[in-house]
Symmetry: C4
Subunit: 279 residues, 4 copies
């Protein structure tokens, strides 16, 4: 009976068919726990909140980690049901090395390292990684799929846009450094420092902690700010084009499947999509 139990556990923690209610429930429960856990982490950092109930926060974290540890154990144990990780030792090791499994380990490991003298803060910062597990939700959300497809269909253009942003950042920061360094040796102390200004300007964030003060610096800054508007416009244009393209493809596919017999030759009446017989 053991292998069949393992298969069932595997189905619940990993694959989860559409009609498998237990698997869905498990997903919902786990994701709820992740959300609660991250919320607790967020609130815990507010000192005035933490001191009101330090034990409650700590107990909740400890019990969450226990659940996550159990789940991790179940997944490692049952992963051999997947043909890709069938080998009891190497298969499990390779499964543990997949990004999602590795993230899960890293998200719980620091908790145990505290007992070995690790820094509490260090452990806490890794708890944020649990947010990555929300990615599991994606299989329930169809709209996310269409966004992902649209972005994927234009990945080339988007990568180029990022590369152009990168070049512009270096170029803008370099120029600004040479123009403003003398007037503001602190704010524009180096090209990497100037890149902080360039990012704030090209993305139109504009914190205002650093900005050019010389006439030439402001002229250069103005040109780069206007280029920044274009940089916001470019990905917007690319993405909206991608969304529309996907839409039209879907509609064309629909049209093809619903109205095939339209094509008939008006002269001989034969259907045009059939090959002519040999004479």
């Amino acid at each position: 009976m053991r292998p069949s139990l393992r298969r069932r556990v595997h189905e619940i923690v990993e694959v989860g068919g559409d009609n498998d209610r237990t698997s869905r429930l498990f997903d919902v429960a786990l994701i709820t726990l992740i959300f609660l856990n991250v919320t607790a982490l967020v609130l815990e950092t507010v000192h005035s909140l933490y001191v009101q109930a330090p034990v409650a926060f700590d107990v909740f974290e400890a019990s969450s980690v226990m659940v996550f540890t159990l789940e991790y154990a179940f997944r490692i144990w049952s992963c051999v049901e997947d043909p890709r990780y069938a080998h009891p030792v190497w298969g499990r090791l390779r499964f543990a090395m997949t990004p999602m499994a590795f993230v899960d380990l890293i998200a719980i490991l620091p908790f145990y390292l505290i007992f070995l003298g690790a820094d509490l803060r260090f452990a806490r910062s890794f708890r944020l990684l649990r947010l990555l597990r929300v990615a599991k939700l994606t299989r329930y959300v169809e709209a996310l799929e269409s966004i992902k497809r649209a972005l994927a269909s234009r990945s080339g253009e988007l990568v180029i846009t990022i590369a152009v942003i990168g070049l512009l950042l270096v170029g803008a920061a370099g120029m600004m450094f040479f123009v403003e360094h003398k007037a503001q040796p602190e704010a524009f102390s180096s090209i990497p420092a100037a890149m902080w200004w360039a990012v704030a300007t090209l993305t139109t964030v504009g914190y205002g902690d650093v900005y050019p003060v010389t006439a030439w610096g402001r002229l250069l800054g103005a040109v780069i700010a206007i280029l920044g508007v274009g940089l916001v416009a470019l990905p917007a244009g690319i993405i909206s084009g991608a969304f529309l393209e996907e839409l039209q493809q879907k509609r064309r596919a629909e049209r093809r499947s619903t109205s095939p017999p339209e094509a008939v030759c008006p002269h001989c009446g034969e259907r045009l999509d059939r090959a002519p017989e040999d004479p």
Copy 2:
């Protein structure tokens, strides 16, 4: 004669057919009053303006509330004409619990509570709710309908975008908290505090009251600012796609409704999508 008067009142304050001039006039008058009332509220908060004519402001508010109270009473009285709220007691109660009726009550109630010792400021802040009643205008504005339809057709993608923004906010704030907390224990005192920075950055608002100062913090901040550009681009792309889709659907509907006889030949009466029989 009473029911027929009640029906007429109901028509005027609620339904309002397209050719019902009295109902339209009532709407216009009421919305004008709402606008004037909100304008008065806005100007009243400018102390130098208020002290010039405190009585005028107070009298105007009191008379507005009287009109709004009368209108509210008329609506409660006549709502039983609507089959959904036909019962004289329970129907009226259920009507009073609908969002729009509830808002109307809340917008006038505080005025009366002042006489019972309520805080004036408390009463004033609820007057803003009257702005919500401008929603009544929507039925006269066709362009608003097309915007609403376009947004509704992509509500899935837009909700996802908001969810992704939410996750990014928590993730960015969490990471920035762990990176910058030591250098700026005041500005990045907790993850919720860091979220204030994250919102300002991801939306490219960039107030500049909080910003990273360490090298790692700036690197992280730069990456998040560039992601922010994408976050501005994503909804723009989604919405423009939606607008275009709606447009194309409208045109297809027009084509179908204006050219139905295309499917039949006006000369021989045969359907054009059927193959001609063998001669």
Copy 3:
């Protein structure tokens, strides 16, 4: 000979056919002078530049005004050639009251008022109005037409967007005023003052001179900043849809004019766009 000279002057200063080289030359010369004049105005305000050659600036302004005055006189004199302003007195008066003619008068009048004791600064500020005359250029620029058509085709949606922005501004400012007034009585002294914050936030400009500091204020500010992203996205989506629509209409018009004889009934062979004869 006088009327024919007046007609020629009218053609040169107003209508300007496509092949009328003199009229074009006149336009180019005048617009060049306007650009130079505005440039001079811009540079003049830099005190260190003005003191270097005050006479040159003043003489250039005086001679520009002379040319603009002459042009204005020619336009008033010759406008009676236009049938709409044919009456020698009333026609000319009505012409002088058209927006463009009125702007031209206002742009030169202050110069003469200085001799009557008017403030120099007052006169200078009106010189900016000359920029409006660049609008004359539009008839040479075809791309501007397509932008204008695209914007006009969606004017309804764009007006709605502006109205929604207006409502959001008032609502956001009102709420923020009630939330932040106590903590920052200076920055959020009144709702109009809070609107300055709301504009900076909703447009994602974010100067950072005013921002919420209380927890509730920041939560509200965060929600409004995220709505601001949508407000940037909405007009972008509307406009891109409009551009695409215009494009498709142009293409459909092309297709119609090039391939008319496609519609033939396959059963009887008659053209489908011809009416069937009476039986």
Copy 4:
């Protein structure tokens, strides 16, 4: 044998056919060196990094320049293989005057001028120009081509947008100068100074170093900030329309090339757009 060697060198450093592996390798090596060199330049400006290994930085720069000089010499020497620059003296001179060759010279020349007493900083700032050579990469990137075509197809609209931005900048700065100059004679000292504010506002960067403080100034600033949102939306709309148009043209071209026999019936050979003759 000399000319054939020169031709090979020319192929490697300039033309580079798709299957010419040596030429590709040369491109990759050179661009890697350019990236490393620019990275070194960026890091060099961080004083704390430079002082750790000044010799390493200087030696790397010297050897890079040596490689760039050699490459420049090879390109000048072999350029006569190109029919356009065939003349041994004038052809080479004209080649040296082409923008890309000129930039290459300027990027290495300052290094040698240091020995003649030139300023080190002066030499360094010209090293940034090497980034321009990354443009060579473009021929390997297809997605860049589609971005360039999309932008080129709407160059008219984009130029207009930039011109409108320019006019708005001058107009906004001029008005703000006259409104705010008295209240803030430092920040709004002249129209060019006010343009710095106008750029930050219209691009929605909003540094917050300059902003209006008077009531009229804030009203004007609010209007201009809202116009700025439109200015961000306009190019986004134009670009997304362009991307979609390009996509549709590509698809139509595909359809035409894959389905040409549609115009003729494969059974009877009659053209399908001609009416069948009477039986």
